[in-house]
Symmetry: C2
Subunit: 204 residues, 2 copies
Amino acid sequence: MEFADVLRKRRMVRSFTDEPVAPESVERILHAAQRGPSAGYSQGVEFVVVTDDEMRHRIAGGGLGDERLKKMGMQPFVSQARVHIVICTSPELYRQRYREPDKFRLREKVSDDDLWRVPYWYTDAGCAMMLMLLAAVDEGLAAGFMGLPPAHLRGLLGIPEEYIPIGVALIGHEAPDARQYNDIGVTTPKPKRPAKDVIHRGTW
Amino acid sequence: MEFADVLRKRRMVRSFTDEPVAPESVERILHAAQRGPSAGYSQGVEFVVVTDDEMRHRIAGGGLGDERLKKMGMQPFVSQARVHIVICTSPELYRQRYREPDKFRLREKVSDDDLWRVPYWYTDAGCAMMLMLLAAVDEGLAAGFMGLPPAHLRGLLGIPEEYIPIGVALIGHEAPDARQYNDIGVTTPKPKRPAKDVIHRGTW
């Protein structure tokens, strides 16, 4: 698909059918995720792919929960999504990378505190998330994202303490009524901020 | 361009020619950036676009600096890039959004500390960054990214204290010798981590 079409079609989907996702689509989505940039090419972002039905329901339970979502007029979209990709990021892998010898010129000039004033493990996790959301559209699929308590995901999936699971990319086939449920659900539709408020020219 | 081609071609470029960037390309790149997701559609990510030659050199001065890069066999790629887009993110806009009435069901269940255990203002800034890097390739341009001290960018560009500038997306035309300079410069080329180490199946 043309990049411009992928970009235009992509949105957060909150209702999935139970049609399975082709394994080769999942592999291409994961391949895209691995093409994200990382500070110093630290590559500190890792993924847990979950397709098991019971585990997906247990993952969903860490959020508002299926019953609560239904009461709110929403679809239980987290458990509905046939593929969960949990995005994990390791601050320690970034710190290790910047202690390697080829980074000494940078460390001469910048203190460790200053170096990580922006925690790039989160921005890079966002890059990987974005690539997966786009790649899903390119596969003719739909995607969403759900933040869930890190401790919940760690406990269920055995994610080590040094990794922070930032949430779950939800992949599946979009239900025809997805937009309807988006509009009556947990959140009020918000207007898009005008470009002139968000984009500053020359200086703030 | 096909999404798959954009994805394949995208890499961090560290050498740009002085050919100007078409303003309509910059606008399309900014439009792409604004299509990124945000937690609760908080839309807390904003941008400062800088094309002024002197200001781009001053921005570059917050990093290792042109002279130092040259001594290291690198191109002064930050000042070379004809367009700088400084990516800024506001934790406060996220917190405000989640204090709005339609979020009360979530706040009933999740404390403010737990809600922001993952600082989504950084992951969403990463999403915007990723979209700009991809959109640049779709425009036939090249892009890079440079983290710079937030205080440096705030001071130069008048960015308010409540916004965190995470760094600068660098947009320009790739110099033919870009890869050469990538390979002899400040960092040793690192191998890509094998998929089996980064992608966990079913559980960690």
